[in-house]
Symmetry: C2
Subunit: 244 residues, 2 copies
């Protein structure tokens, strides 16, 4: 499993992804699930990946390869003319990779499916955020649904629903994401640190702040412990049920 979230704030985008992959509980590895394509001053595109690791790695590798050999029929992610076209290119590639595996006659126990989040900005256009399905089609974040989750989305959703605010600072957004990740990590063994975090300020057109937060990171530990205490305290302050 996996847990990735991207938030569309009023002033930028925030991405976070865990790094645990597993094939059964006895085959656990660390892989990066956040991939950035950037031309400073011109574009920033970040992709988060969830699903079959062979599928997502091949999809990213094909996209990177295309960025190097520019004579392909399809534009590379360094050349797309809009974020919409970017989502189309990524969706087509994802669909093609899945079809290629499905077509080998081999059948795996689990499907080759994967789901991606693609966000970023191209010069002269607004920042946009998309979620791309295994079928290659996609949806875009809006004011009503200003964030996307992929992978193990349920445990970490209630706090996002309650505390997300499009006007929040990057620093508060990272706090929100770490709370959401902490709930997920506590509940699902197949989601685990380190957590990759990146945020992008609108119109900066370059890689923003990036960090990898490890399990023993003092701030993450403070959030994890502090959130448990804060939850218990908040719970204590609500009035008990009265059966009379």
């Amino acid at each position: 499993m996996t847990y990735c979230v991207a938030l569309k704030l009023a002033h930028g985008l925030v991405f976070a992804s865990d790094t645990r992959t597993n094939a059964g509980v006895d085959n656990v590895s660390v892989f990066r699930k956040m991939h950035t394509f950037s031309v400073p001053g011109e574009r920033l595109i970040t992709i988060l990946t969830a699903g079959n690791l062979a599928t997502t790695q091949l999809t990213i590798s094909e996209l990177e390869d295309r960025s190097r050999a520019a004579d392909d029929r399809n534009p590379s992610l360094l050349e797309t003319v809009s974020m919409f076209q970017t989502a189309q290119v990524v969706g087509d590639m994802l669909k093609a990779v899945i079809a290629r595996n499905d077509d080998t006659g081999q059948k795996a126990d689990s499907k080759f499916n994967a789901t991606l989040i693609v966000g970023g900005q191209i010069k002269g256009q607004p920042p946009r955020l998309f979620m791309i399905y295994p079928e290659g089609n996609f949806i875009e974040a809006s004011e009503d649904t200003p964030y996307f989750q992929i992978g193990e989305t349920k445990y970490g959703r209630p706090i996002l629903v309650r505390a997300f605010d499009a006007e929040m600072s990057f620093e508060a957004a990272v706090k929100l994401l770490l709370v959401s990740f902490d709930s997920t990590i506590k509940a699902n063994l197949s989601v685990g640190p380190p957590i990759d975090v990146q945020y992008y300020a609108n119109d900066s057109l370059k890689r923003g702040y990036e960090t990898r937060i490890k399990a023993d990171d003092p701030y993450f530990l403070k959030i994890s412990t502090g959130w448990g205490e804060a939850l218990r305290e908040a719970f204590q302050h609500l009035p008990d049920f009265n059966s009379d």
Copy 2:
């Protein structure tokens, strides 16, 4: 979908279940998912049901029918000699009902599966709590895992993990369950009020307090609103991330 929870406290058992059933989003009904078998002074057995409604209704009906016609080869739930035997009888019935449907040659889009929680006490023995799988086998709650959830379990789990305390009062336990249900109801349309709640004091050997909490119940509204505010406040009080 469905959401049911049972807690094993030091001094008793607490049961809660939603009442929404759906076959698609345009075919939504209200059905009770909490069923109690009781012989005052001698036994109290409560069953919570999740899964295919035809399966769970038939299972409960067969168990009730057996309680009326006592000459069956298997003991009725009013005659089992232990909670362990109770779990066996319920598990065997569930398995038989599922097999009966699977055996008709008809194939439904969704499986006929169901999962049950069975808890209660028989005179002279300790209270026990079991979760019963569609295969008819079961597991028992312990000190390490003192509660069971069935149905849509994920959204409401983080608060259970953080705030459950085996020594908590019935009134605090009902509060905890309503917070857990509120998170679930907010996230999944197929879980909905009214919520049936029941609690049983150890060694009372009779039906305990029972109530049905509707969507417009003032206490439930207070918990729902208050919890949102408390969460946001708790979140504000945690320190923001610092990128320096």
